[in-house]
Structure formats: structure tokens, C-alpha cells
């Protein structure tokens, strides 16, 4: 891990929108369990992944995020019943958008991580960091 850090002085910036009830709590569990998760992830807690407006994601890329990570409850388990269905559709849509925009859609990742899945949070954030390192920094042409 140490060698992978600081390649050419660059670390990925990953903006993460995590739902309060599941993923955020899962991330917290990873923390108290002393599991190693990606330090490149900057967490923004939202009450539901369905709160994530596509505008936030585009704005995150505009403001310097190299990757955006959305974490929500598993399908069928949304605290507000249907919020994550909307998230699912929005992210599918946005990936098509990003492709048309000329931004690699792999820079946007949606994961369903429950409150008890601290290990899954750690694994997926580390894997996402690795993927973003491979993709390199996102340099937007204005």
C-alpha cells in the first residue's frame, strides 16, 4: 500500500455520499473494528442515497473529485422504502451521461452496504481507490 501512495505526488480525491442508516453506519463499524479502508474517501452523510441529486455528482467532479462513491441500503431494505430504487435508476442514467460527457463511467460507483458490513465498506473503498489510481486524475477541459 505504501508504494502505491504518492504516485507522482497524487492521491485520488473520492467524494462519497453515504446513507445514514446503512452505509455510513457500516463505515463507522469499519472504523471501530480497526479495518483498513481508503483514506482517499471524503464522506458526506445523507439521510438516504435517494437524496443524492445528480447535480451533486456532477458538481463533485467539477470541484476536483477524481471519483464519486454512493453508498446505500440493500435493495428492499431502504429505511424510507423506495429511496434506493430511485438511486439505482439515477446512477444507471448518470453512467450513460458520463459516457456521453467523455468521463469514464467507472469513476462513479454505487454500492449497497448495510450497517453490519464494515468489512465490505473497507474492501470496496480500497478497490475503488485502486481503480481510480489506475484511471488517473480527472483533468476536466473547460
Amino acid at each position: 500500500m505504501a508504494e502505491e501512495k504518492k504516485q507522482n505526488g497524487w492521491d485520488p480525491k473520492i467524494a462519497a455520499f453515504l446513507c445514514n442508516w446503512c452505509t455510513y453506519t457500516g463505515a463507522d463499524l469499519a472504523g471501530v473494528s480497526r479495518l483498513k479502508s481508503s483514506p482517499c474517501v471524503r464522506i458526506i452523510r445523507v439521510m438516504c442515497s435517494g437524496r443524492v441529486d445528480p447535480t451533486f455528482i456532477l458538481q463533485a467532479f467539477k470541484k476536483g473529485a477524481d471519483g464519486v462513491f454512493i453508498g446505500g441500503c440493500h435493495i428492499g431494505d431502504c429505511h424510507y422504502s423506495e429511496g434506493n430504487y430511485k438511486t439505482l435508476r439515477r446512477i444507471e442514467f448518470l453512467k450513460i451521461f458520463l459516457e456521453q460527457f467523455g468521463i469514464d463511467p467507472n469513476r462513479l460507483r454505487l454500492e449497497w452496504i448495510s450497517a453490519s458490513e464494515g468489512d465490505k465498506y473497507a474492501e470496496t473503498t480500497l478497490a475503488f481507490e485502486k481503480q481510480i489510481r489506475e484511471l488517473g486524475p480527472l483533468k476536466l477541459q473547460v
Binding site: 441529486d53 445528480p54 447535480t55 467523455g102
Partner: protein, 329 residues
């Protein structure tokens, strides 16, 4: 002394000029109240006439058209200096509009298409690209530079107000002009800088007379695929309609003519990015929870980016499409 009025067209189609003239007899009131000092489309004024004016001499400037070339940019800066109030008039100046769709490409792609690859070029003309500066025995010829990215007016100068629409509807132009005359005659206070004039503060759906029911969309239809029911909401029927993500003010012209709103009045209040909001709106009504099926349903939209950002690409969060070099990002 009559207040001075200027109208200018940058990278535009001339539709905004037509919309102003379409105010019919009101144009006589406009010409009566104002001293029109610059309007290249209709009157014979030159740039040097504007350059000779004092700063702030023009009371009101209605600037339409997007910023595509160095000439457009020069006039934007010149008119900003010479005008007290500068209005981004029409969708091009407000948000890029159709010229903004050029941001799906870059200067190289556009020039190659027009000057090298076009099938209507004669062989001898292929590969002859315009040059900004040419020296001839008689003198030097200068043409403007073609910028790589189309910009909206407020991306090059400070803009006081916006009048959206492609074009702004004539009845709305009359509303705006009457409000301006009211302010100038009766000393009413100016609205806050950045106010959108000549438009409503809701979405196009508010003005649409059609009946709306619950939306469950399994497929999006292109206009030629089936005949729309004239009374039912177009989006309910699966036709693309930008109404939910478009500002009101046009009196829902297009939906009353049985075609979906295209979004020409720009995003509704407090919305940064019209395309993103439309993604959000449609994601709520797509009738599926299976990712594969969701993709298929979205696949029935011919060109999502071009459809949702038809008018607002230049003003959107990302401004343009990222042009890949050698297939890489």
C-alpha cells in the same frame, strides 16, 4: 434626453431580433421611448459608433447570442463597459442554446468537418483552413479567432438580468419592456442583479393544460413513433417532454401543439443544471427496479445528453463534453 437602447447579436440565429419585431405595434412604442443607438440587424450603426460612446452611456443593452469567437467576446466586453444595464437576452446569451451544442466537439473537429471532410467541398478547397491574419499586397485581413468552447454571456462579463427563451416569447418581451419603461419613467427600484425577467418561477408543467396521472414509463417514444393523445400528459404517454425541468413563462406553447417541451426556457428556479434535474425527474418515473431493464428503458432515449442539454450545455456544470485524445479520457 431619451434613454439609449442597444441590441446586439453575437453567435445567434436572428430569432431574438425577429421576436422583438414580432411585438408588432409595440416596437413603435419602443422606438418612441428609447433612442436606439446600436442594432446591427436592423439599423446601420458600426462598432466605432459604440467605441466612441462614454462608459455607461447606453441605458439598456439587450445582448443575444452566445460567445463563440473573439469578435463576440470583444463586443460583449465593449457593450458591458458602455451599458448601464446589460441583459442576456434569449437562450444563447443566457445558457449557450444551440450554438452551445458545439461543446460536444472541439475546434479541431469542427474545422476538420467544415474545411476538410465535408462532402460539399471541392477537391481544391479541402484542407484550406481559415487563418486569422492574412497579408495581401493591398493590406492586412483579420478575421476573429474561433474559441474552442462556446460560452454564455455571463461567463465573459457581468450580466445584470436574463430573459430566457429560444426565442423569448413576444408577449414576454412586451412585459419586460413595459417593466423597464415603468422603472425609467417612475423611478421604481431595479430588481436584484441576476433576476430572470420575462418568465415565471415555476416549471412548464404549471402552464400545461394536459391531464396528469401517475407516471410509469416502460419505454420512451420518439415523436414519430406514435400519435400523441392531445389531452393526456405527454410524459405519461412516454414522449420526451422537458416540462418538469424547464422554467415556466412561455405559456406551454409546444405541448399545446402536441409536441413535448424541449426546454428552451432553461432550468427552473434554484436549479444549477437542467440536464441533471431531468435525470432526477425521469429516474422517479421509470417503471423498473432491475438495473438491466433500467438501462434498456433509458436506451429508448435517442441521445440523452443532447436532449437534456439541448439549450443549456454551455451553462451546465461541466460546460462541455471531454474530448478524448487517442481514445483515452
Amino acid at each position: 434626453m431619451k434613454p439609449k437602447l442597444a441590441l446586439y447579436w453575437a453567435s445567434s440565429c436572428g430569432g431574438c431580433e425577429i421576436a422583438v419585431v414580432d411585438t408588432e405595434l409595440k416596437i413603435l412604442d419602443i422606438a418612441d421611448f428609447f433612442d436606439i443607438v446600436f442594432w446591427p440587424c436592423l439599423m446601420d450603426f458600426k462598432y466605432k459608433d459604440v467605441e466612441a460612446m462614454a462608459d455607461g452611456e447606453i441605458t439598456l443593452c439587450l445582448f443575444n447570442g452566445a460567445i463563440r469567437t473573439s469578435e463576440n467576446e470583444y463586443l460583449a466586453k465593449l457593450l458591458r463597459a458602455k451599458s448601464k444595464v446589460l441583459v442576456a437576452f434569449g437562450s444563447c446569451a443566457y445558457e449557450g442554446c444551440i450554438p452551445g451544442l458545439a461543446n460536444f466537439f472541439d475546434k479541431k473537429a469542427i474545422f476538420d468537418c467544415n474545411y476538410k471532410d465535408s462532402i460539399s467541398l471541392e477537391e481544391s478547397s479541402k484542407g484550406v483552413y481559415p487563418v486569422t491574419h492574412t497579408h495581401m499586397p493591398e493590406g492586412d485581413i483579420e478575421i476573429p479567432e474561433f474559441w474552442n468552447t462556446v460560452k454564455s454571456l455571463d461567463q465573459v462579463v457581468d450580466v445584470d438580468y436574463y430573459v430566457p427563451g429560444c426565442p423569448p416569447q413576444s408577449f414576454q418581451i412586451i412585459n419586460v419592456v413595459e417593466a423597464v419603461i415603468d422603472i425609467l419613467k417612475n423611478g421604481k427600484p431595479l430588481p436584484p442583479q441576476g433576476t430572470i425577467l420575462g418568465a415565471g418561477d415555476k416549471t412548464c408543467c404549471e402552464e400545461c393544460p394536459r391531464e396528469r396521472k401517475e407516471k410509469k414509463i416502460k419505454k420512451f417514444y420518439r415523436p414519430q413513433e406514435k400519435i400523441p393523445d392531445p389531452d393526456e400528459c405527454l410524459l405519461d404517454q412516454g414522449f420526451m417532454c422537458m416540462g418538469p425541468a424547464t422554467r415556466s413563462g412561455c405559456d406551454a406553447l409546444c405541448v399545446k401543439a402536441n409536441i413535448g417541451c424541449r426546454g428552451c426556457y432553461g432550468p427552473p428556479p434554484n436549479v444549477m443544471d437542467q440536464g441533471a434535474k431531468m435525470v432526477s425527474a425521469l429516474s422517479s418515473v421509470i417503471d423498473s427496479t432491475d438495473p438491466k431493464e433500467v438501462r434498456e428503458i433509458i436506451g429508448t432515449i435517442a441521445d440523452p445528453l443532447g436532449t437534456f442539454y439541448r439549450f443549456s450545455m454551455a451553462h451546465s456544470i461541466l460546460h462541455r463534453v471531454q474530448i478524448k485524445e487517442n481514445g483515452k479520457e
